[in-house]
């Protein structure tokens, strides 16, 4: 067996501490796609909350840590569009005052991937039409930074479809879910009203669940969702589908 390519997982602090099952699913997906996964244990937070609060010296400190930890790897994968945009879009600007860090940040930005983009663009996983099994309908919520800063709208939808899921679009899939980091605690009434609107649109789109590629949106929507409205991270959905498809293939083979 040829040696497998190694990627580093930047799991993000929310996934690490609050929804570790998303991290587990991410590792399983990367294994399925044929990669070795490394988890550098020193990683903590990309610094985005501090960057968005205007605390740029603390954000820069966390950015320099993160750059140092992930610089040695060939590719870095995150189960979050928002944290990916922090590294891939904001770091090079943030670290501009330090030329040696700026150069490293620019290099890291070029090899940092949001999970679904990595699977589609780098891994070619899963092979097209892997999911012949009927698996129902979901609706997908575009997280703001993933669709507007990374320009990535298709990869998660493409993966869901390849795994046999129909994607039913809501009226404004790219309307903010109301999270916005500390915004959701500083202006909770507005934040929650935005979430309510998002969940109403998702409900109207039909489907068994709302799927998103960002842990922030996931937790925000779960915090307001009715008991019968499911909100899931794309990694857990894809991993569960991949397991179904594998056992289906084994049963029929």
């Amino acid at each position: 067996m040829p040696e497998r390519e190694r990627v580093a997982l930047c799991v993000t602090c929310l996934v690490d501490q609050v929804v570790p099952e998303v991290g587990v699913a991410t590792v399983r997906l990367l294994h399925r796609a044929g990669f070795e996964v490394d988890f550098p244990a020193d990683q903590t937070c990309c610094g985005q909350p501090f960057f968005n609060s205007g605390r740029h010296s603390e954000a820069a400190e966390l950015a320099r840590r993160t750059v140092a930890i992930f610089a040695p790897y060939d590719a870095v994968v995150l189960p979050s569009g928002s944290c990916t945009s922090m590294i891939a879009v904001e770091y090079p600007h943030l670290l501009e005052p330090w030329p040696e860090w700026h150069a490293q940040a620019t290099a890291l930005a070029a090899k940092t991937y949001e999970l679904t983009s990595f699977l589609v663009e780098r891994a070619g996983w899963p092979p097209a039409a892997a999911g012949r099994l009927e698996a129902g309908r979901v609706t997908y919520h575009d997280s703001c930074h993933m669709c507007r800063l990374l320009g990535s709208r298709e990869p998660p939808r493409e993966l869901l479809r390849r795994c046999g899921l129909e994607v039913a679009e809501m009226a404004q899939a790219d309307r903010c879910c109301g999270f916005g980091g500390l915004f959701s605690l500083r202006l909770p009434e507005v934040s929650n009203a935005m979430t309510g609107e998002k969940l109403r649109q998702a409900e109207a789109a039909g489907g068994q669940m709302v799927v998103t590629a960002d842990p922030g949106c996931l937790l925000q929507m779960r915090g307001m969702a009715a008991p019968d409205q499911r909100v899931e991270h794309v990694a857990t959905v894809l991993d569960a589908r991949a397991a179904d498809l594998k056992s289906g293939a084994e049963a029929s083979g």
Binding site: V11, C13, V15, D16, Q17, V18, P20, E21, G23, V24, V27, R28, L29, H31, R32, F39, A41, D42, Q43, T44, C45, G47, F50, F51, N52, S53, G54, R55, H56, E58, E61, R65, C144, R148, D174, R175, C176, G178, F179, G180, G181, F183, S184, L185, R186, L187, P188, E189, V190, S191, N192, A193, M194, E197, L219, R222, G223, M224, D239, A242
Partner: protein, 471 residues
């Protein structure tokens, strides 16, 4: 006028609980957004046009003094009297002085955010001049004793039924809410005599064209053209940033303005004012005055906030903004609301007074995406938050908590200790759907805050549980 965080939250909560307002706002902003998308799709190269316009605005502002002087020279040559106003007080004084000299006791007004900004109506009233708003939305808002809640649709927070009720009260008869022609006819009846009686017509201005010293106004109701041509005197108040070098630039400006604002290729009326009536003209004012309003704008030139001056006040960012869509315009307590208002209001009127506005954004970027000038509003909102931190406008306990969080997150060991402590503390609060916090103690309000997972991902990894997972 102020917007502290508690004020903004309180006003937004009132708007969120008001079903009629939410319905009116959803319908209004939704219609604008859809029309805008259709209008942009009709352009052969909308993105290229936006890039071109961005370049025009950037270059003009970089040499603003030159263009303003060129405009002034050409406008003066055409007979326009040009007044420079450092601030709102100087601008109001100039208008009041003109009204007094002409003995005007009543004024009709065309739509103008600049006159809202300087609170001109109050100044006129104090000087004994009655000002009547003639833009339908502005007029409704004035009659209701309110303020505009949208840059181009001042009464967007009102439903058609509420508008019919207001007009009916003024007309002294019951108005059918679904008969728009009857409503506008009633408004015209009520407003026409005001135009004929007015000693002075006051408007804003959408742009100035340096090449010919012209002032350009766009409206959809014709009230702008009435206000600039029926009364014997026309006074326009316009921000110094709204100048186009020439008519080529103005054409780009106008085509993007109407498309972004209302989805029209061009607004119904585009009025070009180049001086007062000439001896042979059939009508038009005897005097035209233009008041160039600085009011803090020149302080932004050359700095990181200069980009905010590229704004052409189309209101598209309001229609795209989910925060504006829930909170409504009145929560901002400024003539400029929504994303652009959240940036320019603190810059022009004070960051302390408008503490909530830089925070009133999830930084979703919908405003940057829709802006015809591609103004990077999220970048400036973050910069304003930085200013708030540096000037200690952010409450001390929040700054302390954020500093603590940053120190914890800078070290895996401290992170392990802190999350271990939190896991122990949260045990009695863990519910099936997150933390069960008593309402008043929950900083997220009605939303359940997530609990920390029993074990972190890093613990699972360290225990070697994930080595061959999924393969």
């Amino acid at each position: 006028m102020t917007a502290t965080l508690p004020q903004f939250r309180r006003r937004a909560s009132v708007a969120i609980a008001d079903e009629r307002l939410q319905q009116a706002l959803d319908r209004g902003t939704g219609n604008f957004r859809r029309a805008r998308d259709v209008a942009f799709a009709e352009l052969p190269d909308a993105d290229g046009l936006r890039d071109h316009f961005k370049a025009i605005r950037t270059a003009t502002l970089a040499d603003l003094g030159t263009y303003l002087q060129r405009w002034e020279a050409n406008a003066s040559a055409a007979g326009t009297r040009v007044h420079w106003a450092r601030d709102g007080a100087e601008a109001c004084a100039a208008v009041v002085e003109i009204a007094a000299r002409r003995g005007a006791t009543s004024a009709v007004k065309g739509k103008s955010m600049a006159t809202e900004e300087i609170e001109l109506n109050q100044a006129l009233e104090a000087a004994g001049v009655t000002a009547t708003e003639t833009d339908l939305g502005d007029w409704l808002v004035q009659m209701a004793g309110e303020t505009p809640s949208h840059i181009i649709a001042p009464a967007i927070h009102k439903t058609r039924e509420q508008a019919a009720e207001l007009i009916g009260r003024l007309a002294g008869r019951v108005m059918p809410e679904d008969d728009i022609p009857a409503l506008t006819a009633a408004a015209r009846e009520l407003l026409r005599q005001r135009f004929l009686d007015a000693g002075i017509g006051i408007t804003g201005g959408n742009l100035m064209v340096a090449e010919t010293g012209s002032l350009v106004l766009v409206t959809n109701e014709g009230n702008g053209r009435m206000a600039t041509s029926v009364p014997p005197v026309h006074v326009a108040v316009i921000g110094i940033e709204k100048v186009a070098p020439d008519w080529d630039a103005a054409a780009v400006w106008l085509s993007l303005l109407a498309r972004s604002a209302s989805g029209q290729p061009l607004s119904v009326y585009t009025s070009i004012v180049t001086g007062p009536r000439l001896p042979d003209d059939a009508d038009g004012p005897e005097e035209v005055h233009v008041i160039l309003l600085d009011n803090g704008r020149s302080n932004l030139l050359g700095g990181e906030y200069e980009e905010a001056l590229q704004c052409i006040r189309c209101g598209a960012c309001l229609n795209a903004c989910p925060v504006y869509g829930e909170a409504g315009g009145h929560a901002y307590d400024s003539p400029y609301c929504g994303p652009i208002g959240a940036v320019v209001t603190p810059l022009l009127f004070g960051l302390e007074r408008y503490e909530a506005l830089p925070q009133a954004s999830s930084l979703c970027g919908a405003c940057r995406e829709i802006c015809p000038v591609r103004i990077d509003l999220p970048r400036m909102l973050v910069a304003l938050r930085r200013d708030q931190e540096e000037r200690a406008i952010t409450p001390w306990h929040l700054r302390w908590l954020e500093g603590l969080a940053a120190r914890i997150l800078a070290s895996p060991r401290r992170l392990r200790l802190a999350t271990g402590l939190l896991r122990w503390l949260q045990r009695p609060l863990r519910g099936r759907r997150g933390l069960r916090l008593p309402g008043v103690l929950n900083p997220a309000g009605d939303r359940a805050l997530p609990a920390l997972a029993p074990r972190s991902f890093r613990q699972m990894w360290a225990a070697g549980e994930l080595e061959e997972a999924g393969s």
